[in-house]
Amino acid sequence: MPILEGRGITKCFGGLAAVSNVDFHVDHGEIVGLIGPNGAGKTTLFNLTSGALPVSSGEIRFKGQKLNGLKPHQICKAGIARTFQETKVFGNMPVLQNVLVGAFFGSPDHMSAADAAREASQALEFVGLSAVAGDSIKDLTLVNQKRVEVARALATKPELLLLDELMAGLNAAEVSEAMELVKRIRDKGITIFMVEHVMKAIMGISSRVMVLHHGEKIAEGTCNEISCNKTVIDIYLGEETHAGS
């Protein structure tokens, strides 16, 4: 049974359908990649899933429970955590406290201060940032801020993690570190749904890939199927190769 399932998801901004009639599903324990050119509706689909935006029509279910109409804080408590394409850290707090917010408020059961603190430092250790726990988050590099976002999301004890362009702007070494991190998260038993532009990363770790274009799902399948799919190559991978050459 899929952990996350969307049927006929549509989101209109004025007359423009940013996401139109998309069916998708994410199975338990998977790493599903979501790709597509800029403006394809990937982040919008995430925003609909996390409750940041209401769907115009369609239905999203998490473990069989309908998410329509739930607020972001309820969806977080239900077990879906996310990171943001443009980092949204709490700039007025030290690093550890950022993660503490996730532990305190995000987990489904009420946490004592001591438990939350332990949970937060574990999450921070998991992403390899224990050393900077006391630093101001603004002093961290973008790469590390993104990792704090991952730790913060993990501290909410999610079952499903939405990663929105975790690897954008990272160099090759950092990308492989990030890929390693994503795999370790999956090995903890957390299902991952990720938007990514870095093809190497997507093809390297996803068990399945979904392609959006102009708000519509144009392809879905294993990495091999996607990289051989003619439409995908034309509209997306083609562009990349042209851009790269």
């Binding site: 972001p72 804080h73 850290v89 709490f90 406290q97 917010v101 305190f104 408020f105 995000g106 909410t156």
Partner: protein, 330 residues
């Protein structure tokens, strides 16, 4: 003797000690001080309540509330209307509760607004409630000339305000340390992220905005007898919305004691300079504030850690210098 180490190891003891000293001073002052200074201290304490409650909500969340004067004025008017029929402690409680009821309603309607819109709405609310209260008071309750309140001895008012200050500071100290405090701070950091971390941001904002208004309303009720003659237009003076903000910025909002320091300094300047310099006061006031914002973005409280680290560095240098000299001797 290493001064910095004494400061850092006995920090809590020092803080507690000075707190006790200040409290003893405030509690005993009416016994020997003259009325003018007792009144001055009471006004300062009032500003402490307003600045600290304002900073608890607006300082943490970044939602700039200009409604302080409305909550304060509600307390003043409640006292003006009720002080002859009810015992004064009840009047204070009613003033606080009535203000928080208004805050709750404003919160429900406007805390979905962001940034400047919230500030403008709260500003408009002060105007609205001031005019409405004036109309009701003058034309429905027929108090065209306002209210003459039963005078209370300055010492009595001082002790009531001191009591309110203690209650306010203790309550807000614990709120700031609680999960609500953390939630408020995360809303100020990034509201969207806060919501995605499981925080019901609307609820947290409404509740804490409501709580902050209790103290402001109670402060208004206690100040009412000191004003002797009360009219709605005096009670809802918009100045009371701006002063706490200036004080909180001046003192620094990052630290709990920042707004307290700001209120003490500005409250003193407010009363003394206003008497001596009249309109030049606001000019001087503006210059001081601009200087603080430019040179001390974290306020007076922000100076403390900077000075501490500077002191530590100088001490370390001195010690090192001493050692190298010794080495040179041998």
């Amino acid at each position: 003797m290493d001064i910095t180490r004494v400061f850092s190891t006995h920090k809590k003891l020092l803080a507690a000690g000075s707190l006790v000293l200040i409290l003893v001073f405030l509690a005993t002052f009416p016994l020997y001080g003259n009325d003018y200074y007792i009144r001055l201290l009471t006004v300062i304490l009032m500003y402490v309540v307003l600045a600290v409650s304002w900073a608890m909500f607006s300082g943490a969340t970044g939602y700039m509330s200009l409604a302080t004067a409305a909550f304060f004025g509600t307390g003043v008017m409640a006292a003006a209307l009720l002080e002859k029929t009810l015992p004064f402690p009840f009047v204070i409680v009613i003033g606080g509760l009535l203000s928080s009821a208004f805050a709750f309603l404003i919160g429900l309607v406007t805390l979905r607004l962001r940034g400047i819109y919230f500030a403008i709405f709260t500003f408009g609310f002060v105007m609205f409630i001031g005019q409405t209260a004036f109309y009701i008071d003058a034309h429905i309750l027929h108090n065209i000339w306002g209210h003459n309140l039963t005078p209370l001895a300055p010492g009595v008012l001082h002790y009531m305000m001191l009591g309110l200050v203690v209650v306010t500071l203790v309550a807000i100290y614990f709120i700031r340390r609680s999960r609500y405090g953390l939630a408020l701070l995360s809303i100020g950091g990034n509201e969207e992220a806060a919501a995605h971390m499981g925080i019901n941001t609307t609820m947290v904002k409404v509740i804490l905005f409501t709580v902050s208004a209790v103290f402001m309303g109670a402060a208004g009720a206690i100040m009412a007898p000191a004003m002797i003659h009360v009219q709605a237009r005096i009670a809802f003076n918009i100045f009371n919305s701006f002063m706490p903000i200036l004080m909180a910025i001046f003192g620094g909002m990052g630290q709990f004691y920042g707004p307290v320091v700001g209120a003490a300094v500005f409250g003193y300047l407010d009363r003394t300079l206003k008497v001596e310099l009249a309109q030049y006061f606001m000019l001087g006031f503006g210059i001081i504030l601009v200087a603080v914002i430019v040179f001390l973005p974290n306020g007076i409280a922000g100076l403390v850690p900077t000075l501490q680290s500077k002191l530590r560095i100088t001490m370390a240098k001195l010690r090192k210098g001493g050692q190298t000299e010794k080495h040179a001797d041998t």
